[in-house]
Amino acid sequence: MIAPRDISLVITGLDPAVPLNELLNSCGLPVSGPGAIDIVVVDEHPAQGWAPAPMPPEGVRVVPGEGRRPAAAFNAGLELARGAFVARLDAGVRPFTSGWLLALLEAMEENTDVGALGCLQIALDARIVNAGRRLVSGLGVTSPRADLGRGENDLGQYDAPRPVDAVSGGLALYRRAALDAIGQLDDSYLTPGLADDDLGVALWTKGWRVLCLGAVKVRVTGAAAIAAAGPVRPDGEDLSYWRERWGFDAQYPDPQQVRRLWGSTPLCRDLGATLVGEAFAAGSYARTAGGDAEHPPVDILIPTFNSRAWLERCLESLADTDYPAVTLTVLDNGSTDDTAEFLQGFGERLAARGKSIGFRSVRIPVNVGYPAGMNWLLSITDAPLVARCDDDIVVPPHWLDHLVGTLRRHPYAGAVAPKVLNYGEPGTLQFGDIRIWPVNNYNHLVPDEGQCDILTRTTHACGACVVYRRRVFEVAGPYDIGFSPSQLDDLDHFIAVRAAGYDILYDGRVAVQHKINSGADRSRKAQSSHAANFGRLTGKWGDNAFEILESSIDRGGRRETFPAG
């Protein structure tokens, strides 16, 4: 049990209009008696006269902090604080969990390697501001997604302590030994909140963990606290300083670069081997389904809906795949044509022709849409690699061997997609190397003269044919069924994959043909559905996600020169 004498509380950000006693009472803090803790108040408004009248309670010490930045104000209080555990309270937030300090102390006591412990910040409209911050990802510190849980309702989903990259300084508990190990908060930053992010990174790199205990909740009320808790919009100087200090770009982070710099530290806990997956890394896949170290088993997954006219040619070409361990699984998504009858006999016809490829089909009574169909197929298959294939593609025999080889040579690539040519017009590109920022460039209908026969990192690829590590779906999650029946479900998932820290590769050295069917509908109904899905995409990831993801690739290396990880 931590004794009260070992606890200090540093209060900053006081509002002259709010008496100190009122603040202390509203926070339920013991300021006198045996349970009293050491309280240091940093007075940033001495000229406005809240102190010494009314006089601060006995045992509360006041240190001047006029004109200082929030981090510097806290550092000033920290110098006076005596406890081995230092709580930090910005007067612009109000804890409303009774026994909040005790809860934080208990969590700190149970986790002896934790250097900082934050809490759940809730806005005045009762939505979550953040449940900790995720900085070391493909989206960086400026994305709204850096704030974990932002905009959600608090349903207790963040109550348990969980590792985060950083916590907001509105209310946090620090271990003195951890702060001593890194010096103090870096007060060089002008941007509200960025010093807290910096502190989190510093702690992780020194081996201290940072947790958010969502069971302790605070309401963010003050203007300064709201600004500090909002999405970080650093100025140029701050960004330069961060890059100089940590070696990677805070705004456009390249996970490959972060791994090279900090791969040996816990800062990369979510960007390291966990992305690759033990099974794939150790080669244990070789024990199943006839795979070997160079040819891990692959599940080719094909949702289909009323595409009988194209399905036969598609499956025939996939069945000719020159790869030793492949299973073809088709989900008949409630087709009303003769797809079911065709699929029933297809497996037998393959066997009769001596094809070694595994085949099965599953029929469901209704169309559940492409993303839900893919999720269904993922749930009933288990190979370490997964190929997502549309029912209207035609592939060359070596496509899978080539793409799996590319994936094996790039351990942090989560997915690889080939060049896509127009079916029936193989001399024209349908999708080459795709850019989604600053302008959309799909190389659509451009003559294929070898200009896209390259290997690049990308953010978006044509979803008609993609090979993934299965691990991707554990780390980045399944497809979002909100993009039903189809359109942009592939891009949405690619962004999730990039945000998780994977690379996505475009390998134009192998080409497949694709007949655009579902995407060719230009009716008002289809176009509004596409526009709605695009709105959903930008609403989900933030308006600047495309810029962040594409810029980080440009800065880190887009083409074959990029590092293999």
Binding site: N153, Q157, N367, W376, P478, S529, A532, R536
Partner: protein, 274 residues
């Protein structure tokens, strides 16, 4: 899966109750605790058709309680490996359904015990109407002509799914699919009703986050107005007003009720709407 034996032969009152649950958590038990008495009170054979992703941990206990002869009705449980969204889930259950009356509901709704008899009687008094819903909050007394039968329990005649066979999966995971379906019924000239006597409630428990819900609604609105046209709600409202007598227009679009033809052995007619 049948947890209790079939009850008699189908009749003109036979009901398929389609219940979908995204997360078979304790809320499903809560929902069933209200729903099972309502099904038991229904004046006709009932099949509860429930679709859930994965295995419902607590829900089966509630369903097994339905084995009580007093609560006897058929239960068909459809398990899917992943969540497919509300429109597809209802479409799935519709493919298995053949009763002349069909009710649709999610596990977020607390249904009153007399809901199904009242809604059926309301529809029987309006032979042209294809759907009647219970509001989620109290509304002025009466049976109202509406564009949308609400988020509570909705009872349909089978013919509703001949006019508009399916819920549109563009609204996956679930936002405006019932509004979209109701508009299809309305545009076919078939009234949709809301009955003030069947006020439902919203159950607690996990649901979509505010941000996610708003994104879904925004996306759903774009799809809805893109499909039907920007002025669809005005068109529908004018159509309803034009079809109602003057007295009904000034009384909150309350529908004048006609007496149903009472089948032999039927319960006494419910009180006339004010």
């Amino acid at each position: 899966m049948t947890l209790n034996p079939p009850v008699g032969a189908s009749s003109a009152h036979a009901l398929d109750f389609l219940l979908v649950s995204e997360a078979p958590a304790p809320r499903l038990d809560d929902c069933l605790s209200h729903l099972l008495p309502a099904l038991a009170a229904y004046d006709g054979p009932v099949t509860l058709r429930l679709l859930v992703p994965g295995t419902p941990p607590g829900g089966l206990a509630g369903l097994e309680a339905a084995g009580d002869p007093e609560h006897a009705f058929r239960v068909r449980l459809t398990r899917v490996p992943t969540w497919i969204g509300r429109p597809a889930a209802w479409n799935w259950l519709l493919t298995e359904s053949d009763a002349p009356w069909v009710a649709c509901m999610t596990d977020e709704v607390r249904v009153p015990v007399d809901a199904l008899n009242r809604l059926r009687e309301t529809l029987q008094r309006q032979p042209e109407a294809l759907a009647a819903g219970g509001p989620m909050v109290p509304i002025p007394s009466g049976v109202h002509r509406v564009i949308y039968p609400g988020d509570g329990v909705v009872l349909y005649r089978r013919a509703a799914f001949e006019v508009a066979p399916q819920f549109d999966i563009r609204y996956t995971p679930g936002s405006l699919e019932r509004l979209d379906h109701a508009v299809a019924l309305g545009m076919a000239g078939r009234p949709v009703l809301m009955d003030s006597r069947v006020t439902c409630g919203l159950l607690g428990g996990p649901r979509r986050s505010a941000e996610r819900f708003e994104a879904e609604m925004r996306s759903g609105h774009m799809k809805f107005f893109g499909k039907w046209g920007d002025d669809i709600l005005t068109v529908m409202e004018r159509r309803i007003i034009g079809e109602l007598p003057e007295a009904a227009r000034t009384a909150g679009l309350v529908v004048p009720m006609v007496a149903p033809a009472a089948p032999a052995g039927a319960r006494p007619a419910l009180e006339e709407a004010a």
